[in-house]
Amino acid sequence: MTFALDGLETGPAQVWSSVRLVPLIRDEPVPHLRLHRKAYQEPVSVVDVGGAVYVSFVPHAFVASWSDGDPRPAASYGTRLLERDTGDAPPRMPVRVTRRMARRAGKDRLRFLPLHLAVEGYLALHFGGPETAWEEWARKTVAHGLSPRCEETYLGLQVRGLEDALRIFEIHPGQCGVMVYVADALASAFVVPHPDDYRALHPTLVEDLFGELIYMYGLLGAPAADLSARIDGTGIGSLDDLRAAAELRQEEWASFHDGVMAGRLFDADGSRQVVQHLRGFELSRFLPSFALREENHIGETITDEAGRVAYLKSFRLSDAQVRRGYLLKKLAEHDWRLSATAAALGADKAALALRLERAGFGYLLRQDVLDHYRAQRRTT
């Protein structure tokens, strides 16, 4: 599973203390699709995800609207659609109960909560639990799966320096996206179809979710280093040479960024799941391969027919979250059999059980089984 960020050019980074923001610039916007912000008046919404109830705090939601394949490019993006959609959220609406994360909000609109699709994908990973009732698993696990499954994240406002960095960021003309680095760890990638959308949604990044790792890095506050390479004066004999050297340096930066700094955003071994089609566009989410001690990003995308990314939002999992994903994946691969999984991990059942407990999955195992392994560990 790979996406190419085709049509998006990497611009020069802007740094504020430990936060580095790298702009992504489009030559021309993706036609037929606009995103804009819809601030909900009521803070809590309840989404019904078949059986379990998913409660989330929703400060705002994005509305994707699209136009009916109008052949004329001038009319294809923008004003007409926006005019139809600019009505405010209905005042004083009751707590909304919606059926799905992504939902049609009108004839030509789809409403989805940013990042929740991706987070849901991660939370619902092997959510069903064991299919065979192996004796080690608690009865509740077999009956109800992993429910309740919860993860903690931090609000962008809590990541130190991010708010200021976004405030003073100078948006490039044509900019359609940004990559957020905290202490040079990729925290989030954000891409929209149109520069105007970006301008409108740029401040919403402080309301996004960030993992514990990013929060900690922000707290430590080590200033991001200057990555610009100096131009060597030798061999430069005219202003044209100097200009060429500057352009070359910009290209080097772009390829370094795309290859090294953002190289692990899309995991080649990860998985991708299409959630909804909307007239030529596909809303999908992607999960990484959960390789331990490496960068793992979950995210959601809207791609057009040509596979170009029109919308992208990603979330970097912290190490504990990667470990949990890894364990679940391994368990599922071996049909939730402890002995087989332990063998695959090169450990015994006791070690795996305790590892599950450390990862926060102790509640899945039968209490007496867990106690037994604990006692065993104490005596050895």
């Binding site: 020069p12 980074a13 802007q14 948006i171 202003l239 100097l242 500057a246």
Partner: protein, 475 residues
């Protein structure tokens, strides 16, 4: 040059650092730093200078330091007046008195009240207050307009007043009528509506509220009494006539930038004529004497300034544009955004300073001026590289004496609280702080010292010369 010690170099740097700070910072919020950081940083600098270079600190009053810093310098000198000998104190007194003359009266009164709050009442302070008050051209007007402040100051400095002045300040209700006309109008304004229109605008405003006069009626009748700036402030909200031709250049630029784009386009002829007139007035005799000039002017998003200094960096750049146009024989302006219509500018986009400087050097200028806050970010650090390579390799005169080379000066309107200085672009290019574009010619002169080629004694001589000119006596 050989006798120059390390300490001299440090001293030279310290002095320039302070001068840059005192010209640019007003203790207000900037785009990148908030007001608290600015104040903390500035207070430290003042303390440091007062402790280590008191003579230069006082001499800074003769330079174009802004009013905010001038008031702080005067305050600090008076607070610690006793620490120096009589001779030095006398010289400081001259500088203080001269500088107070040029400060707006409300700032002077605020300074005096601050001294009162700090409990500073030494002989020098009382003398300074007495002399300044005695030199006021229309004391009665001050008594009415700044009544509360005057009262405080009179009490604090034990000033002797005439009978009527004393009664006006301390027992106004016992008096049946005043002989001084403005005092009498003030007395009558308490119960007679017509009398308030003879009073200064700020005083009349209070009486208008007291009498419940409709705002439109009040503004229409008080208009002749408004000051220039009051007119400019109320110009938008209350249809007050304003003569743009007599506005100072930078303030005019600020005003133009505050207008919506449509209105600027409509009034293009009027606005650009006013800006050109103001610029020509500043240029004076030096008009057209600068040869081929190219300017790189910053209109990136950070030139927005802050809520307290709205579009100030952009206004300085715009004013510099018109001033350079008047000074130069041949002028090429290059805005960082690539826009060419200077009247329709607004802060937006990144700061590709490096690329613009390459463009600028390509025009073959005799002088290159860069007006920017120094946050070069597209790509970061390119401006420094370009300037370094130019200075060491490409400048046609790079092997010759400084006088033969292209004169490059960076003017920075923003004080960087963290560095205690304005942000620099490259070591080989002098950077000077700028607050009003009107000071541009003198700043370019001062910037020579920042290049590190002129020693401390030359700098000292320059400061002495400026102080002498400021005081109006031969050095």
């Amino acid at each position: 040059m050989m006798s120059e010690t390390f300490a001299d170099l440090v001293a030279c740097e310290d002095v320039l650092m302070f001068v840059n700070a005192a010209i640019t910072s007003t203790g207000q919020r900037e785009f990148h730093h908030d007001a608290g950081e600015q104040r903390l940083s500035l207070d430290f600098l003042h303390e440091y200078m007062l402790e280590n270079y008191r003579e230069v600190y006082a001499a800074a009053l003769a330079l174009d330091v802004n009013d905010h810093n001038a008031a702080i310098i005067v305050r600090n000198l008076l607070v610690r007046a006793g620490e120096v000998g009589v001779e030095r104190r006398r010289r400081e007194g001259l500088l203080i008195a001269r500088r107070l003359e040029t400060l707006p009266p409300q700032r002077v009164y605020r300074l005096f009240r601050e001294l009162r709050r700090l409990g500073v009442n030494n002989r020098r302070t009382r003398a300074v207050i007495r002399d300044w008050m005695a030199a006021r051209r229309d004391p009665a007007f001050d008594f009415v307009k700044y009544r509360g402040a005057v009262k405080d100051v009179v009490r604090h400095a034990h000033l002797r007043l005439g009978d009527e002045q004393h009664d006006f300040l301390f027992t106004p209700h016992r008096v049946k009528s005043f002989r001084t006309p403005i005092f009498e109008q003030w007395r009558r304004a308490h119960y007679e509506q017509a009398a308030i229109y003879e009073l200064p605008y700020t005083v009349a405003e209070g009486f208008a509220a007291k009498h419940g006069i409709a705002r439109e009626v009040f503004l229409e009748r008080i208009e002749p009494k408004m000051t220039r700036l009051e007119r400019l402030r109320l110009h938008k909200s209350a249809d007050v006539q304003v003569d743009l031709g007599e506005m100072p250049l930078t303030r005019l630029a600020s005003y133009v930038l505050s207008l919506p784009l449509d209105e600027r386009a409509e009034r293009r002829a009027e606005l650009s004529r006013a800006l050109r007139t103001a610029a020509r007035r500043v240029a004076g005799a030096a008009r057209g004497s600068w040869g081929r000039v190219t300017a790189v002017l910053d209109d990136s998003y950070s030139s927005l300034g802050s809520g307290q200094k709205r579009r100030r960096p952009l206004a300085v750049a715009l004013a510099a544009h018109y001033l350079l146009e008047a000074l130069a024989r041949e002028f090429t302006p290059l805005w960082t955004s690539g826009r060419t219509d200077e009247l329709l500018l607004y802060p937006s986009g990144p700061t590709p300073l490096g690329l613009r400087i390459i463009d600028a050097l390509g025009t073959g200028p005799e002088r290159l001026l860069i007006v920017s806050d120094g946050w070069d970010n597209a790509p970061p650090g390119l401006a420094a590289d370009v300037l370094r390579v130019w200075r060491t390799r490409l400048d046609p005169g790079h092997r010759l004496a400084p006088g033969h080379r292209v004169l490059i000066v960076h003017l920075n309107p923003v004080y960087e609280a963290g560095d205690f200085d304005v942000r620099r672009l490259a070591p080989g290019v002098p950077t000077a702080g700028v607050r009003d574009a009107e000071n541009l010619p003198t700043l370019v002169e001062l910037a020579r010292f920042a290049e590190g080629r002129v020693g401390l004694d030359k700098l000292q001589a320059h400061l002495d010369d400026r102080a002498a000119r400021f005081l109006g006596v031969p050095a």
